[in-house]
């Protein structure tokens, strides 16, 4: 399998929040944590605790009230979302329905879609890596939900940014499909050395692919802890959530 072409160089991908404070209306979230390079970190916690807020802040969609976002010693706090070395998958609307599968993936390489032959081949390779070889010309509506998720993943692969944020992009899929997608994240993104931060409601998801789990609760992002350690002996706040 060919993937060496888009593996990042080993040093990239340490994502750090320094005294980061994010505000949305009356809600405020504090984060002072480090997400380890080339690891999957799951964010877990009750609804409304601020998991999505944190990802929006990291991706640059929500300017922080104070603090800094630092990637590999580079301050990206002020950078526009498209200029950060970060890819993000949202809960929905990850694909443009009027563009073909190949175009949707191609956007990860060039936003103006002026793709060279080499880049087109790159797109085709990425599509076959996620198991969609030959579907390049389809429109998203002609694909199943699982296939649509795979297209979005292929775009993340070609964009080849060192950090990937997942805001529950697979939550609309059935349990079996979701597990399949999580395994794909593990086998493609993690194998390519990406730093992955994902939101989940289900500890089983975390056990499946996450190396670390960070509890988000009461306006505070706690430091990530090894998955088994945290889930086997959950602190009080997490126990209350897991039930």
């Amino acid at each position: 399998m060919r993937c060496s072409g888009f593996v990042t160089d080993g040093g990239a991908g340490v994502l750090r929040c320094e005294d980061l404070v994010l505000r949305q209306g009356a809600f405020s979230l504090r984060a002072d944590v480090v997400f380890a390079r080339s690891k999957v970190t799951a964010l877990i916690g009750p609804s409304g605790a601020g998991k999505s807020t944190l990802l929006a802040g990291l991706a640059g969609f929500l300017p922080p009230a104070s603090g800094r976002v630092i990637l590999d010693d580079v301050d990206v706090t002020e950078a526009a979302p498209g200029k950060r070395p970060i890819s993000m998958l949202f809960q929905d609307n990850n694909l443009f329905p009027h563009l073909s599968v190949a175009q949707n993936v191609g956007l990860g390489l060039r936003p103006d879609l002026r793709l060279s032959e080499e880049e087109k081949n790159h797109v085709a390779t990425a599509l076959s890596e996620v198991g969609l070889a030959g579907l390049d010309m389809r429109k998203p509506a002609a694909l199943s939900g699982g296939q649509q998720s795979r297209v979005a993943l292929a775009r993340v692969l070609v964009a080849n940014r060192p950090v990937v944020l997942l805001d529950e992009p697979f939550s609309a899929l059935g349990p079996a499909l979701k597990d399949e997608m999580l395994d794909l994240v593990k086998s493609k993104l993690v194998a390519a050395g990406k730093t992955v931060v994902m939101i989940t409601h289900d500890p089983a998801d975390a056990r499946r692919i996450a190396d670390m789990v960070a509890l988000v609760d009461a306006g505070e992002v706690h430091a990530p802890v090894a998955t088994d350690v945290l889930l086997n002996d959950p602190p009080a706040a997490l126990r209350a959530y897991l039930g």
Binding site: Q24, S52, A56, A59, G60, F61, L62, A80, P81, G82, K83, S87, M88, F90, N93, N94, F96, P97, H98, L99, Q103, L107, G108, P111, D112, L113, K139, A141, A142, A159
Partner: protein, 509 residues
């Protein structure tokens, strides 16, 4: 949650569009305000014009709404073959050139029309259609369908479950369900029709006239064209503006409905209806009233169609060129304003609704008059004014879709670093295709049929098709006028259809 960020597009097109709208609305208003001769006050004839304007608009709105209620009720509760077609046709008068409808009405109610032929045959005196009742008749013809669509929407917005509940309780549907709905829908419908009737120059021009049936707009036209009394025209334009702002402010407060809205293909299931005859008679009468005049155009216009003089064809080409230019400009302005967004933009977007074509035209006339011969730029000014007057409708079609695109895909676009032209080309324009096509079709058809500003400006060499028709009617060349009307209708609807069809081109949107 929705922290909405949107890919950046250049600011200047929105600013330029806003500036053009402001010049054509407030700028022309300033011109008439400055030139108006306030000293003399209003002459008795001016007061009569104000009175007539208000009276005919009140009567027209009242009749349109009163007649629309039984028609809407019948359509709401009866399903029959051709119902959807009829409802679609009810939307057509919006695009139908006024002068065409007037000619059709004359063929029924006019001097040599069917009605008078019948009266004479029965031994009665023929009726004259010109004056107040002619103006009101034409306004009802145009606004009855609009009012029916508004009120029908009201009827169909009552949930089916309510009717079921009322039936199981044996409760009076009329008092319980229909009366509250009418109380909410009728006033706004009345005001919209009233506003339209305040600014329908073409109807007053063709059906009115004389000291007892002159609207303010008609008086403006006469002051410019016949008396060349620009000071008085400007004063009247100020009065017209005041009337429009008043009515628009009222209408603004009570409306939110969209007359072009879809979803009227449903029939309410009812359990309290016994005799369907009345409903069908009402529907039949309404359909006859709306369709007969148009059938007469076809009937009278077709035979002479091949013999139309070259001047009519020349006028048709001029109209096409104005309509296409106006549609392109209108859609570009609407797109630029919609992308810009914000409160100021929505205010600018509705300002043309309160503007009267004649007021804008008078202002433009005053502005350009010292520098060029108005006839030389008649088509250009008509194009600009038509584009601006159609802007609110275009914006209403485009702006919600732009907002939805930003809402759904703004973050995705930002995350992928799509900006400016890239964002427009790959996301906004393809996804906007349908509203863009619809708006372009609407603007083109409205401009094609417009008989307003052009009447103020045009000399012999610049007449558009509606103006050529009007002049043919003035010369009593009714057969040729009917042929020209036929051509005008075909061109107007063809323009709309082509643009709208283009917009629907892609299925997988």
């Amino acid at each position: 949650m929705a922290h909405s960020l949107v890919p950046v597009t250049p600011r200047w097109p929105g600013v330029a569009a806003a500036a053009l709208v402001l010049v054509l609305t407030l700028g022309t208003l300033a011109a008439v305000g400055w030139r108006a001769e306030w000293g003399g006050g209003l002459a008795p004839a001016d007061w009569a014009a104000v009175r007539f304007t208000l009276v005919q608009a009140l009567l027209s709105a009242l009749l349109s709404v009163l007649l629309a209620i039984p028609v809407a009720r019948a359509l709401a509760r009866r399903g029959f073959y051709g119902r959807n077609l009829l409802i679609t046709l009810l939307g057509a008068p919006f695009l139908l050139p006024v002068i065409v409808a007037v000619l059709g009405l004359l063929a029924i109610f006019g001097r040599g029309g069917l009605l008078n032929d019948g009266l004479v045959w029965l031994g009665f005196q023929p009726l004259s259609i010109f004056g107040l009742h002619g103006v009101v008749l034409a306004h009802v013809f145009f606004n009855l369908p609009l009012a029916v669509r508004f009120i029908l929407q009201g009827w169909l917005s009552i949930p089916a479950e309510r009717f079921r509940l009322a039936a199981s309780l044996n409760a009076p549907v009329g008092r319980l369900l229909e009366w509250p709905m009418l109380r909410a829908v009728v006033p706004s419908t009345f005001l919209v029709v009233f506003l339209i009737c305040l600014t329908s120059f073409a109807v007053a021009l063709t059906m009115g006239g004389g000291p007892r049936a002159t609207t303010v707009e008609l008086a403006i036209y006469q002051a410019v064209r016949f008396d060349f009394d620009l000071g008085r025209a400007a004063l009247l334009a100020c009065i017209q503006f005041g009337l429009c702002v008043l009515a628009a402010a009222l209408a603004w407060r009570v409306t939110g409905n969209d007359p072009m809205g879809a979803g009227m293909d449903r029939v309410v299931q009812r359990w309290d209806l016994s005799r369907p005859v009345v409903d069908y008679v009402v529907i039949l009468l309404a359909a006859l009233f709306l369709l007969l005049p148009l059938a007469m155009i076809l009937f009278r216009g077709l035979p002479a169609f091949a013999d139309m003089p070259a001047t009519v064809w020349a006028a048709a080409f001029r109209s096409l060129y104005v309509a296409i230019g106006s549609a392109a400009l209108c859609v570009l302005m609407a797109l630029a304003l919609a992308l810009r967004g914000g409160v100021m933009v929505s205010v600018i977007g509705v300002m043309p609704l309160a503007a009267s074509g004649l007021v804008v035209g008078t202002g433009a006339f005053l502005i350009v008059f010292p520098f060029v011969r108005p006839a030389d730029i008649a088509l250009l000014v008509t194009m600009l004014v038509n584009a601006t007057l159609a802007l609110p409708f275009a914006l209403r079609s485009i702006a919600p879709s732009v907002a939805q695109i930003n809402e759904s895909y703004g973050r995705l676009g930002l995350g992928l670093d799509m900006r400016g032209w890239t964002w427009l080309r790959w996301v906004v324009l393809p996804r906007l295709r349908r509203p863009l096509g619809f708006a372009a079709g609407l603007a083109a058809a409205l401009s094609m049929g417009d008989l307003g500003v052009i009447a103020l400006f045009a000399g012999q060499g610049q007449e558009t098709l509606p103006l050529a028709m009007y002049r043919l009617m003035g010369a009593y060349r009714m057969e040729t006028a009917a042929s020209a009307a036929l051509l005008l209708v075909v061109l107007s609807f063809a323009l709309f259809w082509i643009c709208d069809r283009w917009g629907r081109g892609r299925a997988e949107m």
